[in-house]
Symmetry: C2
């Protein structure tokens, strides 16, 4: 199953037979006080630096979130999307919990966007899925409802079924345009959560064949050695069927783990990408030492 | 299912609910010309250095192979095992293709050994499994026969079934004392081989519940970036059910990947090992820089 996203001039295909899709996550003011103040003052210059860093790290798409309290988020998100599209041709994942901001972002975006995100709550689906359909976008859907974030794979799978039924049946969204977030929780709080995530991923792939996307940095939250944990978790998840992640591509170790997993899972034919990247690193390290 | 190995004073348990078992692989002259000449001349001193390096790297067992052409391998292997047991209390995996050497090694060994290895060939099983039973050892079994190394998981599973039937039914070996090698081939020759290995691992776990052991360095043979490939492959394999590997524990990156996977798969309660190792590294790096 292939999910196709586009900017004005570039296409990205997400699928189980494709190299993993790395969605750069830093264009987001959450937890960044100075960035929030700048955005509130209308200063979007920090976005340029963040875009450049995520692109340099190897992002294949960019997540753009402008969730700053006490601002006109729809206008800010629309402006940020126009700015990011002037800086890079990578397709964008439009990220907001505010429906009006998602709509403003979709209206401003040139191409075929990914919407982040909807849940299995009927009220959220009613608000967001018609936008996804109207703007011919794809959408990330979280299998949680108004009652709980389920801690068992069985219940997550039930909610995936519900989302698929509603999105395809009621709103006419193509099944390949639904990416499920299999829900990754911090391992530091409970060491069984990753096993549940991996089971969820395997079963979504086996039972629905859907593409998936998760927030990769959650897993290592609060633990030491976060780069190693990320570089270990993502290949495991990929080997069970994860096809994309929202992640900070500035971590070379994590990006290398993803590229190694592409090779090992047969999504880097003849190892061409792996070998080329190795040669480029060798050339740049001999240039910098010479 | 638990496989229990012992030296004179230390016990190691291999199982799906246990930390991964790292079997240090360097006490082996294959491809090491100088080491071979030393062993041929009766000089076993290099073994001390190799044992120390594998133990320092975090090995939980040691593989000992003395396959030197034109030597009395049974006597050499027996001597090497006595020497290794004088240097460390880690249990040993006795590794030879020569049945007489396996027997001499088992006779010299103090504890409960792992025998490396038998295949699904009836002739090899007839020679090796009675030794495994007589010396109360466990055994690594490869699902290949005299005709082929099967490239499909289906055929590997059939041969696993045959090995289990013969070992338990004809020779009275307990099922938990059979470790299957799911066969890891070099990714450089064919980028589909790891997917086959992962499928084999998942199905052996689901259909038999057996412990498994493979040679981890094979996978990256001939490719650049071998440490990253090893550190990516092993966590993927562990997440599908691999419980031990024969590997070079001198690679800190690969060992760290294994420890991260132990944590992520719920085999490091509260992350105690992960956090303690992180603190020890911090302490040693501040000591060396201070």
């Amino acid at each position: 199953m292939h999910t196709t996203l586009r900017s004005a001039s570039r296409e990205v295909v997400i699928g189980h037979d494709q190299p993993f899709c790395l969605i750069g996550e830093r264009i987001n003011p959450t937890g960044r006080r100075i960035f929030q103040e700048q955005l509130r003052a209308g200063d979007l210059s920090a976005i340029e630096r963040d875009v450049a860093a995520q692109v340099a790290g190897g992002a294949t798409m960019l997540d753009v979130n402008m969730g700053v309290p006490l601002t006109d988020e729809p206008a800010l998100l629309a402006n940020a999307i126009k700015l990011v599209q002037s800086l890079t041709d990578l397709p964008i994942c439009i990220d907001s919990s505010v429906v009006e901001a998602l709509e403003a972002g979709l209206a401003a975006y040139e191409g075929r966007a990914l919407v982040n995100s909807v849940t299995a709550e009927d009220e959220r689906m009613e608000l967001i899925l018609p936008l996804v359909k109207r703007y011919d976008a794809a959408v990330i859907a979280l299998p949680n409802d108004e009652f709980e974030i389920p801690m068992e794979a069985d219940r997550r799978l039930e909610l995936v079924g519900h989302i698929v039924d509603v999105a395809t049946g009621r709103y006419g969204i193509a099944i390949e345009d639904i990416l499920i977030d299999p829900l990754a929780m911090p391992i530091g709080a409970d060491t069984t959560v990753v096993a549940t995530t991996l089971e969820t991923i395997s079963r979504i792939r086996a039972e629905f064949g859907l593409n998936m996307c998760l927030g990769a940095s959650n897993v290592s939250f609060g633990m030491p050695g976060r780069h190693t944990l990320g570089a270990t978790f993502l290949p495991m998840a990929m080997s069970h069927g994860l096809t994309s992640a929202i992640m900070d591509t500035r971590s070379e170790q994590i990006v290398q783990g993803v590229k190694a997993a592409d090779l090992l899972l047969g999504n880097d034919e003849w190892g061409m990408n792996w070998i080329a990247a190795h040669r480029a690193r060798e050339a740049s390290s001999s240039a910098s030492s010479g």
